[in-house]
């Protein structure tokens, strides 16, 4: 049994990236996936991945033959605070740009800011909706 024929980052990422970047990219994607899955569990047990320990648990051999781990990640799913500032800066910048785009005049930028301030980012527990929905982008068939 081989792997699927579709191009993917695990198998083909080395074409675009050196080993350091490739492992870092894969490690971050796995951390995101793990955090996303844990956020579906019962919130009272607070199951989570520690981004720092997660990165430390991964090893690979770099171009110099050294066995190392990918670096820690300040933008990890649970480290939302540093990202908030960056997001707010980006929104201010985007708002300025949007002022010359007629189609975006009606965009409510204050609402976007409020979403960030109110912590609607980060990893709130995910709950099952009343009616079952399907995701087209996860486990494609």
């Amino acid at each position: 049994m081989g792997i699927g024929a579709d191009a993917n980052w695990a198998t083909d990422g080395h074409v675009l990236m050196d080993p350091d970047s490739h492992v870092k990219f894969m490690a971050r994607a796995l951390l995101q996936l793990g955090s996303y899955i844990f956020s579906q569990m019962d919130p009272s047990i607070k199951a989570r991945l520690d981004p720092e320990k997660f990165m430390q648990s991964i090893e690979y051999t770099n171009d110099h033959g050294e066995v190392i781990s990918p670096p820690s990640w300040s933008g990890a799913p649970e480290n939302i605070e540093p990202l908030k500032c960056q997001l707010l800066e980006w929104i201010t910048h985007s708002e300025l740009r949007a002022s010359i785009v007629p189609g975006l005049y009606s965009q409510d930028w204050e609402k976007v800011r409020d979403q960030i301030d109110e912590g609607q980012l980060g990893l709130p527990p995910l709950t099952r909706p009343q009616s079952k929905t399907t995701s087209e982008c996860f486990f494609q068939t």
Partner: protein, 128 residues
């Protein structure tokens, strides 16, 4: 790419609001031809697309191009091609939002493990 070549122009809906599109004209149109023009419809102006002219603009505003034209009565030469290089700022690459679906790895039974923005963004916001 969206539709182009229409008199109404078009909007690049997948562009990020926070960055500009840059377009490089590199056509080698024979002398005497109309070079083709790039129209920024909202500003009411156009740029004549002679070689190595670079235009940076917001693709979320309506824009469009008109083609090179051979002189009246003459048949266009075979090598009279337009060449434009367009550097888009896709929302999926530039901002937290986006529609990017990441094919991460293979799964058994010839399936693909793909991560959507629900997984790879910090509870993404749709516009930015």
């Amino acid at each position: 790419m969206g539709g182009f070549g229409t008199t109404e122009g078009h909007i690049d809906n997948f562009d990020s609001i926070g960055a500009l599109t840059t377009m490089i004209a590199n056509s080698r149109i024979p002398d005497g031809y109309e070079a083709g023009r790039f129209h920024l419809l909202w500003l009411g102006c156009y740029i004549v697309l002679t070689p190595f002219k670079m235009v940076s603009f917001c693709g979320l505003n309506r824009h469009g191009g008109t083609p090179p034209i051979a002189p009246p009565g003459s048949t266009p030469l075979n090598h009279a091609y337009r060449l434009m290089i367009v550097l888009y700022p896709p929302q999926s690459m530039i901002s937290q939002a986006g529609r990017l679906v990441l094919p991460l790895a293979s799964l058994p039974h010839d399936k693909l493990l793909s991560l959507g923005p629900e997984v790879t963004s910090h509870r993404y916001i749709s516009i930015i």
